[in-house]
Symmetry: C2
Subunit: 607 residues, 2 copies
Amino acid sequence: MRFTETLTAIVVGLAASAEAVKVNPLPAPQSVTWGESGPKNVGWLELRTDARGSKNQRLVRDAFDRAYSTARKLQWVPQAIEEPILKYPEIPTGTGNEKREASSWLSGVDLKIADWDAELKHGVDESYDIKIEASSNSIKINAETVWGALHAFTTLQQLIISDGKQGLIIEQPVEIKDEPNFPYRGLMLDSGRNFITVAKIKEQIDGLALSKLNILHWHITDSQSWPIHLDKYPQVTKDAYSPREVYSNRDVADIIAYAHARGVRVIPEIDMPGHSASGWQQIDESIVTCVDSWWSNDDWPKHTAVQPNPGQLDVINEKTYDVVTDVYRELSGRFTDDFFHVGGDELQPNCFNFSLPIRQWFAEDPSRTYHDLNQHWVDTAMPIFTDEKNTGGRKDRRIIMWEDVVLSHDSSAHNVPKDIIMQAWNNGSDHVNKLTGMGYDVIVSSADFLYLDCGHGGYVTNDARYNVQENPDWEHPNFNYGGTGGSWCAPYNTWQRIYMYDFTRGLTDEQKEKVLGVAVTLFGEQVDDTVVSSKVWPRAAAAGELAWSGNRDPETGKKRATYMTQRILNFREYLLAVGVEAAPLVPKYCLQHPHACDLYYDQDAVE
Amino acid sequence: MRFTETLTAIVVGLAASAEAVKVNPLPAPQSVTWGESGPKNVGWLELRTDARGSKNQRLVRDAFDRAYSTARKLQWVPQAIEEPILKYPEIPTGTGNEKREASSWLSGVDLKIADWDAELKHGVDESYDIKIEASSNSIKINAETVWGALHAFTTLQQLIISDGKQGLIIEQPVEIKDEPNFPYRGLMLDSGRNFITVAKIKEQIDGLALSKLNILHWHITDSQSWPIHLDKYPQVTKDAYSPREVYSNRDVADIIAYAHARGVRVIPEIDMPGHSASGWQQIDESIVTCVDSWWSNDDWPKHTAVQPNPGQLDVINEKTYDVVTDVYRELSGRFTDDFFHVGGDELQPNCFNFSLPIRQWFAEDPSRTYHDLNQHWVDTAMPIFTDEKNTGGRKDRRIIMWEDVVLSHDSSAHNVPKDIIMQAWNNGSDHVNKLTGMGYDVIVSSADFLYLDCGHGGYVTNDARYNVQENPDWEHPNFNYGGTGGSWCAPYNTWQRIYMYDFTRGLTDEQKEKVLGVAVTLFGEQVDDTVVSSKVWPRAAAAGELAWSGNRDPETGKKRATYMTQRILNFREYLLAVGVEAAPLVPKYCLQHPHACDLYYDQDAVE
């Protein structure tokens, strides 16, 4: 095809620049320098370390074994490559018939870790470097901590590819120096709207580790169900969807251990005082309010919840705080991370009015507002959340809340401690700017860039808005035509939208320091085991690179979305190969024909 | 919960009406009459027929065995019920602990079929009735043809439920009289953009049969790949994505036989003369045009294709018709259905200009237009498509084309035979009206109601439109905010949108007679095995009921979307239980709490 030949010239041009890579690991390392002497064969790789009896020695060895055995099993043939097309005129198709020449053998990995005992926690050093030299038969890996070493392994496993003859090779010489731009790189999963099995949660953790995301933010409960066992209040799981749809203590420990072994922290969220009905109501009916109300009221200004079913904690009832203390204390003991998310989003004033104590509280002083009521919650609950008696003895407990607690127009609190981490979800970088300006550390989860559930249409039923038969033209979008189709957020965030997000836009350097990182978010109204992996992957990996090494070429400062394309298309196939059911992004034609599916021939169209 | 009790009164009210059902099969039968004497136990059911040696005797017995063994294996506990809540205060959760009393036993099925030998073809009688009487220990099924009997079995298997004690029961007495409103009820799958395995295609057929859809419209090839083997031109599958991603003759026969056994017709589509590059180019490069062009031209008015990669048949080159004849003749022999789809959509004038013969043809007579050029295709190709030498001897071959051949503003043909069936995809019922008014039989696939691929964002890369960082408010939607997000059609069509479509709106009775039915459509740019089932199901089942018994209550004439809710939520769980990976529509809370997730309490909100 003439077209392909023309394109080749372009790609060859690119290949001569600094971005030229032999293989294309994701996220792109901060720095990769390739030489020209060609591939080496990968023999049986022995891992040699300077562990000297660290408790983490086994963890590191297991991680290496996973990476290396995966590379051996996959015999990976890159499925989508950024290579010059002239050099590889036949696009590999995974049949393993291609042959690459390799002249010498690699037989070991020399791993040095400066601090073998550093714990997996916020801000731990995750840097590493990998060096393969023409003159050496070993791969040299240096890392500050074991958590950096784990990242080195996930890079290395993507570098080791098939030689087309049942053997493995690695392109070299190569030197990679790598570290994350942001310490918080997360995925939020929701097991409150629909249950997700332990096996499927582990599959997500596999994807997180491979794409160097390091946080599983687990939105465990919501008004719809309470799927986690509590020793103190075993009755809460009467509000699980079924006895099978419960996380036992052992399940939780299993998930945490699985994640820890892969460098992923598990941060629990118990959403309070909004989104609270199931579970709580089984402990004491008086601590929840408006659970009996009709959520939409058929009159939106009077709705008691933004979605069915309604329910909020009764923040005036003193019993509420006793129960909150018990629940928080037990889960602080079970979850090992320093961070704990206590929700705080989407409080509905109408819902609070279903509580007699709250109505009486307002009557006591007519100057009181819903802002004051939320302040009462913050003032009463925060001492519980920070009391070492409740944090399992942690002095360094950090609480995360959704931004609403300070930004909600009708119910924000006035005076919220500045050491609470705010998770921003509305208004893109404007709210990141506002929150960091207020002095808060911020996790960026802006819905119109980073929410993975957007654009799947609404789920509430008996909804006449779908019943419009008229068909406007494209110039005049409506609910059913070019519009949202009932999605609470729309459109669907494609990987390109996620990747191109400049989430620190307009921030001062001081404000940028307050940005901890990003988390993609998958609320679960239309998610369970059947679709969770395809809704998360490979899109979460775009966020992974965004937070790891950014969306811009380090030399030119230009957006590198077009160079990300083949990388993420290849990574999707890789995820699938290791058992993460990632969705296809394009016709396979596009991954077999680099850049043929670009909108613009001009490779600098995205700036 | 007070709310639940209030709702109960509503549901009890409904239960007293004609819609009250003991279980809730989908699609809703045309007529169900329940008595009050309570369930019977289902013993070992013997199938007794009046087959008298018909060739279809085995097919019917196999279908019965599938239905009955599924019912035995599932021990189904309805997961979402429309029953009065007071009568079932504990919502079943699939644990099988509920007990229902049954007093007597059913031990046989008496099946009578008037015409055992009627073939599965367009317009075959699909009616059936089922009768279970208090005085009888057998289930009586009558059908005109075996294809009606198969539908009776899929209804029956949904009626047989668990008794909570490892046994099965069926509510009775009951009399069901049923038949489809429309003979054509289809799903279009696309294996041209991405390959779908035979196993996954069979999974779709399982879903089709269960929801009484009777057509698999198989869009086999497209410009991106050619995945089907041809004896005459084995080189076409050089343009399959890999040697594994090819349908052999045996695969095709396997799919057709699997579908036939379940009452599903397989209609192949070879899209011509547009969407043509892969495969054709391997036979003869001169029969395709513009495959070397840059599809978007970085200047949209000059684009040569609506998506990458470009390619159209050279409709002036005489060799083209020789090859078309060979390909069509071979596939007419392989596919057994009377219908054959030859595409005809989205011709691009700019693409034709890459052909020297076409440019010369235009130069010969300056009055010629692209309309004339398409007329030349129709005039030359249609005799090939109808010639009995090419149809495998069929005299009753019917050709289907996309509506573009008569409605495209820049390239419609002038004079298109009225016996071609038009598949409508633009402008909702307006185009159904227009096409039936022109005298064509019409299959309705209106994109803004029935396309299952809408709303997943764009897939073309190097696209700066995603790079807008500004964040408007909801009053001002844009590409990335409340808009299409690059989806060629948007928003996502929810099951409610599909189900509420009045596709014969504004038609005269005579025009309505020309509507053959509906087909939901899943183009495959972002679809392969990982997501095909969850994108199709359970939404296709909403179209199934729409075409089978309609979206209105037969007595009141009002839309019955709110009554469909629990039926489709239950059906989704049923699909999952039989191995069809259908997506969740709602938080499970909604299926366990009938109507709690309605937007309006007023159950007549949808009219």
